[in-house]
């Protein structure tokens, strides 16, 4: 068998060539799929990209949290080097806020908002993809510091002078500053995109008082992004120049105000908390009515309390700085404003409870997560009101009590909300139902693990467990609480298993979901699951807040005046037709957002100390910008969004 005649060599070569050609042909369609995802402008695909990148960073940052818990399991452990510990808590916070939390909420905005307002895409589809590229490149750039062994180590809050060149001589904080500047550009672009989308692309009849709550919160959050990110951008710019070009913005020896950075950071950082949590409130306000089979109680009040939270959120930043000695007047004003925020937040909670009251409750997985959100957020909210009072805060600041508080808000609020939304909209996005049984395992395990991890931190914190310190003396007597927290954190990892199994099994052979598996009231459920590329075969006309909960309005009913706001000819399309009656032209894929983002990434890399690289990056950015500007958005014919 092995002794082939030499004359067969050419045949063998032919065979190899044929196999190579076959492989090439097999790869071509796959390459086309990859190229399609790299150039897509479809908001539903971009949502999936945002979700995958956000989830990846969530898992990475979660692992960093696990390492922190391992180090703190007992007093005076030396599992992690103190420097590495500082780097890990910095990366954990920075990644969770900017590269997990933000992309995940924007994933939901992307998928849900156009569908809820009856639009076919966002206002600027290419800008949408540009924002995603920058979010990913920002995260990758931040993590490029890991193989270089110089992760940022000044905390996600990056307080000066600790982060000045003098006290942070490594490159770590430069990675932090540059990564956040890069991602920030994309975030602001996203804010512009969603404001214009929600203001301008609403279907006929979709007035503000008929807008679904999630979309309302997306609008509020987009405005928050536009107003909160610029001060942070300026702060980062100052820090960049102080560290690399010798300016003196944060140099007290040159006469600078030692608190300037803290003000600039928190005037962004506190609204950022609402940027993360208001979308979760929006998700709860969608899920709870659907599974109570009852419209949201006090809809206008819930809307206005969301707006009020956002507005007040700009006037409370200095409650992060009670301990720096601003004086009694400033402390009192910020304490009062902070306590005031409890009012609209409480209103929302009462409205969710009142929505459930007397409703036909169905305890599906999304509903459990939403109820979990309400109850866990109450705990985080209550501890928040406690340190709104400066004397109390002076006892609690820099202890694990604060760590407990903001994890109850950000996990109990944001992450529970994101999971509620995942189980709720997954059937819409994929056309398949996630297993309810596995979903409930996921929920109950997470609820238990979350509370076992973070509830003891209230006690250890009040007893003096310090934050941001790599260990603690055994005399504090905190080993017990810390060990429980660490065990809980381990369980938290286990709690992800049912989710991953569920996603895997469902994507392979899940139960098909119809257009409206939950019997939900809003427009996204009127179209197919998954929706067609153009979302809506016919542009819906909206006459009420919960359009799918009303039967077709029959002409005789309209004559009898049974429907209070049925307009002239007021027939409401309940479910979309399968096929569009007229051809729909959608915007074409584009490479330019990627080209421009790569240019900006290269320019950012140059920010580490190479002017030539920055100039090359700027040139590529400019090429991308011009290519984009001169490329028509619709290349397959005249179109309009």
């Amino acid at each position: 068998m092995n002794s082939q005649p030499a004359g067969d060599r050419s045949e063998r070569l032919d065979g190899l060539n044929a196999r190579a050609r076959a492989m090439g042909q097999a790869w071509k369609p796959r390459l086309a799929v990859v190229a399609d995802w790299m150039t897509t402008v479809d908001h539903k695909k971009i949502a999936i990209l945002y979700f995958l990148s956000g989830m990846t960073f969530l898992l990475i940052a979660g692992m960093e949290g696990q390492l922190i818990r391992v180090q703190l399991a007992q007093s005076e452990l030396r599992i992690l080097d103190p420097n590495l510990y500082n780097q890990l808590f910095t990366m954990h916070g920075t990644t969770m806020v900017f590269f997990a939390g933000m992309p995940l909420i924007i994933a939901y905005f992307n998928f849900v908002v156009p569908l809820q307002i009856g639009a076919r895409d966002v206002a600027f589809p290419r800008l949408n993809m540009f924002s995603w590229w920058l979010a990913v490149f920002g995260g990758l750039f931040l993590y490029a510091s890991v193989p270089l062994g110089s992760m940022p180590d000044g905390g996600w809050f990056a307080y000066t002078p600790l982060t000045n060149r003098e006290y942070s001589p490594g490159r770590g904080m430069d990675f932090y500053v540059l990564a956040l500047l890069l991602a920030g550009v994309g975030t602001i672009a996203g804010g512009v995109n969603f404001v214009v989308t929600i203001l301008n692309l609403r279907a006929p009849g979709m007035t503000f008082m008929r807008l679904p709550l999630f979309t309302w919160m997306a609008l509020v959050v987009s405005i928050l992004i536009l107003l909160a990110f610029p001060p942070f951008t300026v702060g980062l710019l100052f820090l960049l120049f102080d560290r690399n070009f010798g300016t003196h913005f944060f140099d007290a020896a040159a006469g600078a105000d030692p608190l300037l950075w803290q003000h600039l950071f928190w005037v962004f950082g506190h609204p950022e908390v609402y940027i993360l949590v208001l979308p979760a409130f929006g998700i709860a306000s969608e899920v709870i009515p659907t599974f109570s089979r009852k419209g949201l109680f006090g809809y206008p009040v819930v809307v206005f309390s969301g707006v009020l939270i956002a507005f007040l959120g700009f006037g409370v930043w200095a409650h992060h700085m009670f301990a720096v000695g601003m004086g009694p007047l400033a402390n009192s004003v910020f304490a009062g404003a902070t306590m005031l925020i409890a009012v609209p937040t409480g209103i929302k909670i009462f409205n969710w409870i009142a929505t459930m009251w007397g409703g036909k409750l169905r305890f599906t997985t999304p509903m459990l997560w939403a109820i979990g959100l309400v109850s866990m957020f109450i705990i985080g909210g209550l501890s928040g009101v406690m340190h709104a009072s400066p004397p109390t805060d002076l006892q609690q600041t820099d202890t694990y009590f604060i760590v407990a508080h903001f994890h109850y808000v950000l996990i109990g609020g944001l992450v529970f909300g994101l999971f509620a939304g995942l189980y709720y909209w997954f059937p819409k996005a994929t056309g398949k139902m996630l297993s309810d049984k596995l979903g409930k395992w996921h929920f109950w395990l997470t609820l238990a693990a979350f509370n076992i991890t973070f509830f003891p931190m209230h006690f250890s914190g009040l007893l003096g467990m310090p934050r941001r310190t790599f260990t603690y003396p055994s005399e504090l007597g905190l080993d017990g609480f810390n060990l429980v927290s660490t065990i809980g954190a381990g369980l938290f990892t286990v709690a992800f298993v049912p989710l991953i199994v569920n996603l895997w099994k469902t994507l392979r052979n899940g139960e098909p979901a119809g257009a409206n598996p939950w019997g939900a009231p809003t427009l996204e459920w009127s179209t197919g699951s998954p929706p067609p590329h153009y979302n809506f075969a016919v542009v819906p006309r909206v006459q009420r807040r919960d359009p799918l909960w009303h039967p077709w309005i029959r002409p005789e009913e309209e004559e009898a005046g049974d429907h209070e706001d049925a307009g002239p000819g007021g027939v409401e399309p309940r479910l979309q037709p399968e096929v569009a009656p007229e051809p729909v032209v959608m915007p074409s894929n584009s490479w330019w957002p990627m080209v421009m983002s790569i240019g900006m990434l290269i320019a950012t890399v140059g920010g580490l100390g190479s002017l030539e690289t920055t100039l090359v990056g700027a040139a590529i950015t400019l090429v991308g910008l011009f290519g984009w500007a001169f490329e028509p958005a619709f290349r397959d014919g005249a179109g309009h969004l």
Partner: protein, 190 residues
């Protein structure tokens, strides 16, 4: 696909520019606040009153304001469909913007010569970053307006193009308005 009118009555691109300008207000507000908070806190010279040349900057401010006037006239010419006038006025707008930038370059260069490097003191830090950020915005505007000028050599003057010029104008007027605030706070109050 049937064309749906924008719900607000303002088309997407223009609404996006207004939204972006809102965000830019916060950017400049932060920069200006920093400058104002740090005013007079310089520990070593040179100090602002020793360097700032108010008559010279008054001239460049006038130049920038005239470029805003040209911008208005360019848009008017676009609306009348007068290609030659529109191109000339767009060119003039960009050229005046460039003159302003040359003035800024000269000013920076002169300050540097007088011993005010970027890293000299608190005044140099805040002054260069604030006016430099504004200058970068002017530079972006000059590139944009030059592109519009070059592209207007051919093709129809339709509603789309008129709107493009209008949106560039919104940006340009915003950048000018910011300069009026900077001129007042930095130069006149020094």
């Amino acid at each position: 696909m049937s064309e749906l009118a924008p719900v607000t009555g303002i088309r997407n691109r223009k609404l996006a520019m207004w939204t972006f300008i809102g965000s830019e207000c916060m950017l400049f507000a932060t920069l200006i606040s920093t400058y104002m908070v740090y005013r007079g806190r310089n520990l070593i010279g040179p100090y602002p009153h020793e360097l700032l040349n108010v008559p010279f900057i008054t001239v460049t401010t006038f130049v920038l304001l005239m470029s805003s006037l040209c911008m208005v006239l360019a848009l008017a010419a676009m609306q009348q469909g007068n290609r030659r006038q529109a191109r000339f006025r767009l060119f003039l707008t960009a050229a005046l913007g460039l003159v302003f930038l040359v003035g800024q370059f000269y000013e920076f260069n002169h300050f540097h010569h007088e011993g005010l490097g970027l890293s000299r003191n608190l005044f140099s830090s805040t002054f260069y970053i604030l006016t430099g950020t504004h200058g970068a915005h002017v530079l972006g505007g000059v590139i944009w307006l030059s592109t519009l000028f070059l592209r207007l050599g051919s093709g129809p003057i339709d509603a789309e193009r008129i709107e493009t010029v209008e949106i560039a104008g919104l940006y340009w007027h915003f950048v000018d308005a910011v300069w009026i605030i900077l001129f007042t706070l930095i130069y006149l109050l020094a």
